[in-house]
Subunit: 341 residues, 2 copies
DNA sequence: CTGTTAGCGCATTCAA
DNA sequence: TTGAATGCGCTAACAG
């Protein structure tokens, strides 16, 4: 293995000091043309590149931002990351992605690792387990240590930092309202357990829409999916009701897809007998049959905004910068799984 | 902003030397119990964590591995990354993910950045543009500089490094053979442009299967998709043939899904009139209607193997370690889009 | 025009 | 038992 070329080695080669080399490579006017030329030529020939670690240590910054997401196998997060990459790169920053796998412990480990000088700032979408445990001290530590933090999508209200979120309340409302408008009378919602904030907000939006249309809320139509158990089995209960639903709102596309699959298997026609609406515009929605109407979440935009906020904080680190919360609106994308108006 | 606590600060606090603190925190026997105790307590209270940059610089290693993938919005890559994370973490390594966006330039930039001391080794799946340009000097430089490199899925034969690949040839064969077995007479293939190796290999497998069954190869049934153009339009040509296909093999699940969508729109019954088979077992395959039969690619396993190979190389860096090539076999997953045997 | 020195944060060898 | 010195690779202020 050839070890990398360093200033020191170049210096030895020409029998000059390290700083001479450093300056020569920066094309400093302090150095004679002659020396500069030969040093530059030599460096180029050997593909000299300053060692990032040394630079980072010296400058006390790394020009990279860390991202911690629960799962990468989710289309939404994948879109967010693309958005993050785009604007980070444009601003000369690199991106380091870590996964918490929705585990509190892994989230803490990743944060610790990133916080120790590895990145200039961190973007997080909180792990489910962290939301469940409500143990947020690692975020507080981070902020206390002066490392800029931006949360997106799954955020913690109590933590004071910039945030980017989907208008989940509104999204839930939009979805439900649309189902009502096309004539659904019994609208079920497939949502997450209570501790998942975004699920809760979408549920709130659902309730608001019902109330707004004077439709009584029926507890039986709320199904909180436990992902550790068989999802189909859980959906079954909905269709076993005395009065089964004629409309279903799934708070993510997987739930909606499962519901649609089950309904069709039971002989329901979608959307004639039952309309189904999802959340997040992923590939499943586009390729399922019938294609799935859904509330689009604009993951790309969220990622972009998150970086913008973070870079602001990184630059204004000393002055007292005001934390901001950006809300990204949702859109209804109507496809085949819901009846036409 | 409170700046992070360092050995220096602790040293000043107790009016001892930095090295004393360093040793105390390592519970060295050289330091008196008394001093150790108070220093450790202090460090704990202030959440002291050694600065990674400094450690890395000193140790000349970072305990992180870099991954460069073309796109993150692909289910396959997402699975690979999960596999990589799993075994990397288990071995105390962190993972840094970069995207080349299938661009040669971004691939080079990312590699340069990772190579400058940021990571101990790199795992790559080559960008399309790089395959097209056949410009591989950045890989050679990397190897020349002694940085371990492992390629997966989209690999370059000429570059000498460890590799993990899907048995694309066999996968293509399996898929085609199955279509033949269930009675398809005119089997079309939806593949990539020539320069994409994996597409080519799957096409080879397709040809082999035809030959093996004494079915003449028909150029008209080979459609090389240009992703920059409208995909549906391109698929249309296949169905406008005098003798349209009764079986379609798509070299990835998107192509297969598009084909199925189009066929159904034209009134074909899948699988009665036409059988469709994809490659890569992603979400689309599972949730489309009918569900898509496919050649499973085991992305997770590939990721795991890639890290294993890389870690080997990192450890045996000085000795002359033999590069290995691991082939991950494919499996046929039969669902509803192909006729039963 | 060139070199010396100091420092970023840490670990380690050697000296006291 | 403690500390001073050295080095990882680099830059920048300051001397010469």
């Amino acid at each position: 293995m050839k070890s990398k070329i360093t200033l020191k080695k170049i210096a030895k080669e020409f029998d000059v000091s390290i700083s001479t080399v450093s300056k020569a490579l920066k094309d400093s006017h302090e150095i004679s043309e002659e020396v500069k030329e030969k040093i530059q030529a030599f460096a180029k020939y050997y593909h000299y590149k300053p060692n990032s670690l040394a630079l980072n240590l010296r400058n006390q910054k790394t020009k990279t931002i860390g991202v911690i997401i629960p799962q990468i196998v989710h289309h939404f997060f994948t879109k967010v990351i693309s958005g993050i990459e785009q604007v980070a790169n444009k601003n000369g920053y690199n991106v380091m992605i870590c996964m918490s796998m929705d585990s509190y412990e892994k989230e803490v480990l990743n944060m610790d690792m990133l916080a120790n000088g590895v990145v200039d700032g961190i973007i997080v979408s909180v792990a489910k387990e962290t939301e469940e445990k409500e143990n947020y001290s690692h975020f507080r530590d981070l902020i206390y240590n002066g490392i800029p933090l931006v949360m997106f999508d799954r955020v913690i209200d109590e933590i004071k930092c910039s945030k980017v979120l989907t208008n989940d309340l509104d999204g839930g409302y939009l979805a439900t309202k649309h189902l009502i408008n096309i004539g659904c009378k019994r609208i079920a919602i497939l949502t997450t357990p209570d501790f998942v904030t975004v699920g809760n907000l979408r549920l709130e939006g659902y309730k608001n829409a019902l109330e707004n249309s004077l439709i009584p809320f029926d507890e039986d139509l709320v199904l909180k999916i436990d992902e550790d158990k068989n999802i189909e089995e859980q959906i079954k209960t909905l269709f076993s009701l005395k009065e089964p639903p004629d409309g279903i709102f799934g708070v993510n596309e997987i739930y909606a897809a499962y519901a649609m699959k089950y309904a069709r298997k039971q002989g329901y026609d979608v959307p004639e007998d039952i309309s189904i609406l999802g959340f997040t515009d992923g590939l499943i929605s586009q390729f399922s049959t019938p294609t799935l109407s859904t509330v689009a979440q604009h993951g790309n935009t969220m990622g972009q905004k998150a970086v913008e906020l973070l870079l602001n904080e990184i630059e204004y680190q000393d002055t007292d910068y005001q934390h901001q919360t950006k809300v990204v609106e949702t859109d209804l994308i109507l496809r085949e799984s819901t009846k036409k108006l």
